[in-house]
């Protein structure tokens, strides 16, 4: 599991969870999350190291140059990411009722 759950990491996880089977290019993830390459690639690297993402060789580019890489959520990654995103959502949800103060008399 990543050491710190940052807003940027959550953005990436949410984008990946929108379609867990989808294979993403780094560029597509950049467009989807609006993160810069300087932010996105360290996150992807962390997720790959933690086994949440698999990094695969992609197709050859049109000009015959080196192939691009694809990122896809692993089974473990999908479950863990869903848990993290859900926990963060729950933590952010505002309390609907203020809990009663200890010792206070009910009206």
């Amino acid at each position: 599991m990543p050491e710190r759950i940052t807003t940027q990491l959550l953005k990436v996880l949410e984008a990946l969870l929108a379609d867990p089977q989808r294979e993403w290019y780094g560029l597509e993830l950049m467009d989807a999350t609006k993160l810069t390459s300087g932010t996105l690639y360290p996150i992807l690297h962390r997720l790959v190291q933690d086994g949440w993402l698999a990094r695969q060789g992609g197709q050859q580019s049109d000009k015959g140059g080196p192939g691009r890489r694809l990122y896809v959520l692993t089974g473990i990654g999908e479950q863990a990411a869903a848990r993290v995103v859900e926990e963060r959502r729950r933590a952010k949800r505002p309390a609907t009722r203020r809990p009663p103060r200890p010792g206070a008399q009910p009206a």
């Binding site: 560029l27 390459s37 360290p42 080196p66």
Partner: protein
């Protein structure tokens, strides 16, 4: 005759301006593309050796994809923050890693890539100067010939001949320079690719 000259000059100017614009746009695109790829090479030097080759290949490929999709501004934006990504991924900091002598293959890779891709060649500089002279010359020639013709100081047929001669000579010089500049750029890219291959082979040994 004067009207014919004006029409001809206008057509010539339109065509040559279009041509110059196309060449200029191509040149700017080439320069930006080179700069982006150089930035990837620089970022690669900040990566740990076990990741450098793989990530460099990926980043070059993403850049090429953006260029193919005509998204040059996005390509520049993509390349701009790559050194930061590389610095984050490459932990411990690369300078310390280099001082400890832990990555000799990267020294070779970085050094050769820097040598092969850093500076522009003489041909490319010559092309730029020629292009600038061509654009300025085109403007001056057209203005002076049209001005002299309208004021009656010069025979329209002579003006037509002079303008045609000047502009066609300038065009051929520009074309030759463009070819030479393109060849030079191609050679520089090939040298950078060879440097990457060599560094990869050294790294795998």
């Amino acid at each position: 005759m004067t009207a014919l000259l004006l029409v001809f000059t206008a057509l010539l100017v339109t065509a040559l301006t279009g041509l110059a614009k196309t060449i200029l746009t191509g040149e700017i695109r080439g320069t930006l593309s080179d700069r982006c790829h150089r930035r990837v090479d620089r970022a690669a030097r900040l990566l740990p050796p076990d990741l450098a080759d793989d990530l460099t290949v990926e980043w070059h490929a993403e850049l090429t994809a953006l260029e193919d999709a005509d998204r040059l501004v996005s390509a520049c934006r993509f390349a701009r923050t790559l050194p930061r990504a590389a610095a984050h991924i490459g932990d411990p900091p690369p300078l310390r890693a280099r001082l400890k002598g832990s990555a000799p293959a990267r020294w070779v890779s970085g050094g050769i890539a820097a040598l092969s891709s850093r500076s522009q060649s003489l041909e490319e500089h010559v092309f730029r100067v020629t292009l600038a002279m061509f654009v300025v010359g085109l403007g001056l020639t057209t203005t002076s010939i049209v001005g002299f013709t309208l004021s009656g100081r010069i025979n329209p047929a002579l003006a037509l001949g002079i303008s045609f001669g000047v502009l066609s000579t300038a065009f051929f010089v520009l074309r030759a320079s463009l070819r030479s500049s393109r060849d030079s750029r191609r050679r520089r890219r090939a040298a950078a690719d060879a440097a990457r291959d060599l560094a990869g082979r050294i790294g795998h040994r």
